[in-house]
């Protein structure tokens, strides 16, 4: 083949590559409506301001704590890196990745995820991992979370996974080709509906009360990572105790003993309902499984007091630059809360 | 050679085998005939034509068949 032909071929290959890159952007799910949870992981990178508190966990964090309230009442800056059914190793790798960007004073981890020893559904894996920016941490996270049927390449090149979406393309896919709109308030996914909780039902009987060993391994890794960086790790359990997401006493014993052995602070908010002031007829949007915005605010203001008194987190409201940034966040938060979405 | 002609005649009386040199191509000899031919030749000339010798070029004409027989006989 002569030189001219080589150049022509290289150009063609280049065009092919660009087209595939464009197709990948187009076919990736955008998560701008419907399952908005899919866009949460990627949103963290666009929030440049530092955060004193980092929340990690599943819907028991990103629907139970509201960062704007923490700022408004206590001047504490925070961010929630939560995703649906986030597993313990997801939380660990998100923590490791966050530490590349900033070093928070405290990390709050919700212990409900300790019950899952293996991935329950491929969709949850995709949602937490696809949003992460490319890095060695992401490669290790993929390797640790992949289920049997998933392929490593389909995470490096999402086109291999979403190629069949060409049949279900919507207008949003074109509109959000190169950017995304924020769907949360520093990680808090607002739920404004109210569906009162009428029944108090126990969970289904446990076949094996022991929490999976792999979860404790990753919890240990999180603990040692926090100790190395001088970060205060706080374990929490959201106040919700719905039969579908039931918190068994056996699990509580194991977490309390773990926290005791490693002198970690552990707050189980289930018995503290009255002190927090929760009212199950107004503070839940799905009959008691999760808190809605009013419930979350009550819990946040209660937890904010603990953060201030127990862990001495500073009040940054005096800092002009931070207040400007947070002023904007709070107004957006109030706007969505009062009806405009 | 005479015995060979007799055998061929017994299969297809109406064909003049002396003149023909493309028995397979013309479709005169099909696989049925070849198998019968081999049985007759084996008993008549006391040779045994192995399966790998069943090739078009060996059976295309009477002379080709005869060459095959002599080749097997002296080997």
């Amino acid at each position: 083949m002569r030189k001219k032909q080589w150049i022509a071929c290289l150009c063609i290959l280049l065009c092919g590559g660009v087209f595939l890159w464009f197709a990948q952007l187009l076919l990736e799910p955008k998560y701008m409506s419907g399952n908005r949870e899919g866009a949460m992981t990627a949103e963290y990178y666009s929030d440049g301001s530092p955060h004193d508190v980092l929340f990690l966990g599943d819907c028991e964090v990103y629907e139970c704590y509201t960062p704007p309230t923490l700022w408004a009442e206590y001047g504490i800056t925070s961010y929630i890196r939560g995703t649906p059914q986030q597993l313990v190793w997801h939380s660990y790798y998100l923590l490791e990745e966050t530490l590349r960007y900033e070093t928070p004073k405290a990390v709050v981890f919700n212990v409900y995820a300790m019950r899952y020893g293996e991935p329950q559904n491929e969709a949850y894996n995709r949602i937490v991992l696809d949003g992460m920016h490319f890095s060695t941490v992401k490669l290790r996270a993929i390797w640790a979370s992949m289920t049997e049927e998933e392929s490593f390449a389909s995470y490096l090149f999402p086109l291999l996974r979403y190629h069949s979406r060409w049949k279900e393309l919507e207008q949003a896919d074109f509109q959000y080709l190169f950017h995304r709109d924020p769907v949360t308030h520093n990680g808090y996914l607002m739920q404004t509906d109210v569906v009162p909780k009428e029944l108090d039902i126990e969970g289904e009987p446990l076949s094996d009360p022991a929490l999976p060993q792999i979860c404790f391994e990753y919890l240990d890794r999180m603990r040692t990572l926090c100790e190395e960086k001088g970060i205060q790790l706080i374990l929490v359990k959201a106040p919700t105790n719905f039969w579908g997401y039931y918190w068994y006493d056996e699990w509580e014993e194991q977490i309390v003993s773990y926290a005791g052995e490693n002198d970690l602070p552990y707050y189980n908010f289930i018995p503290l309902e009255e002190e927090i002031g929760l009212d199950w007829s107004t503070d839940t949007y799905d009959g008691g499984a999760h808190l809605n915005v009013s419930g979350a605010e009550k819990l946040t203001s209660y937890f904010g007091k603990i953060l201030r008194e127990e862990f001495g987190l500073e009040d940054h409201r005096a800092d002009a630059e931070l207040s400007a940034v947070w002023q904007e966040k709070c107004s957006a938060y109030e706007a969505e809360k009062n009806g405009g979405t | 050679m005479e015995k060979l002609y007799e055998i061929l005649k017994s299969l297809h009386p109406d064909v003049d085998f002396t003149a023909q040199d493309d028995l397979i191509g013309e479709g005169i000899l099909d696989s049925l005939d070849i198998v019968t031919l081999i049985t007759e030749i084996n008993s008549a000339y006391d040779v045994s034509i192995p399966a790998e010798e069943i090739l078009p070029e060996n059976f295309c004409s009477a002379s080709a068949i005869y060459d095959l027989i002599t080749r097997l006989d002296e080997a």
Binding site: E37, I127, I201, P205, L206, F242, W243, G244 | -
Partner: protein
């Protein structure tokens, strides 16, 4: 005439081949599965929920729905509360005709299994009635029958919960 013979011969061979085939797929003889009897209604895990709920409508069972974290994941679990026990089902959406009973769980000792075991009985009493368990640990005794399983939850030797589970 000759060709007729050959056609028959070939048809015969083909027939022999057909006749010789056709295996019988063994029907799985489900050993007699356990079921729960309440107020004259027999409730089996794995069955359709609609007829059972209809029969028990007199007790006006209240229900609670567990939606999944993701709106994309299809299907939801539902719990119906009845006197002394509850039924957990799975359905694709509200009013789904083939909503299926996944679990029957005893809430207190006001109900008992057909064989007479209620919450509070001793593990030994269970073994006396049901014999050796298919799966026995410090925390549970499980008896598997066909596509269902009867499970007794144990705490220091006495039964703390009883549930019928489907294995499909």
């Amino acid at each position: 005439m000759m060709r007729k013979w050959i056609a028959i011969l070939l048809a015969l061979t083909a027939l022999v081949a057909f006749a010789a085939c056709g295996g019988t797929d063994p029907d799985d003889d489900a050993a007699e599965a356990y079921s729960f009897l309440f107020d004259g209604t027999e409730i089996r895990p794995g069955d359709k929920a609609a007829p059972v709920l209809e029969a028990l409508s007199a007790h006006n069972p209240q229900s609670s729905v567990k939606a999944s974290c993701l709106s994309g994941v299809t299907g939801e679990d539902v719990t119906y509360v009845l006197p002394g026990f509850r039924i957990q089902t799975f359905r694709l959406q509200e009013g789904d005709a083939d909503e299926q009973i996944r679990l029957i769980i005893f809430s207190d000792d006001s109900v008992a299994t057909r064989e007479g075991i209620a919450i509070g009985a001793t593990a030994q009493a269970v073994k006396d009635v049901y014999g050796a368990a298919d799966e026995e640990t410090e925390f549970r005794l499980a008896y598997t029958r066909g596509t269902m399983r009867l499970v007794f939850g144990l705490r220091d030797g006495s039964v703390t919960n009883i549930s019928y589970e489907t294995l499909e």
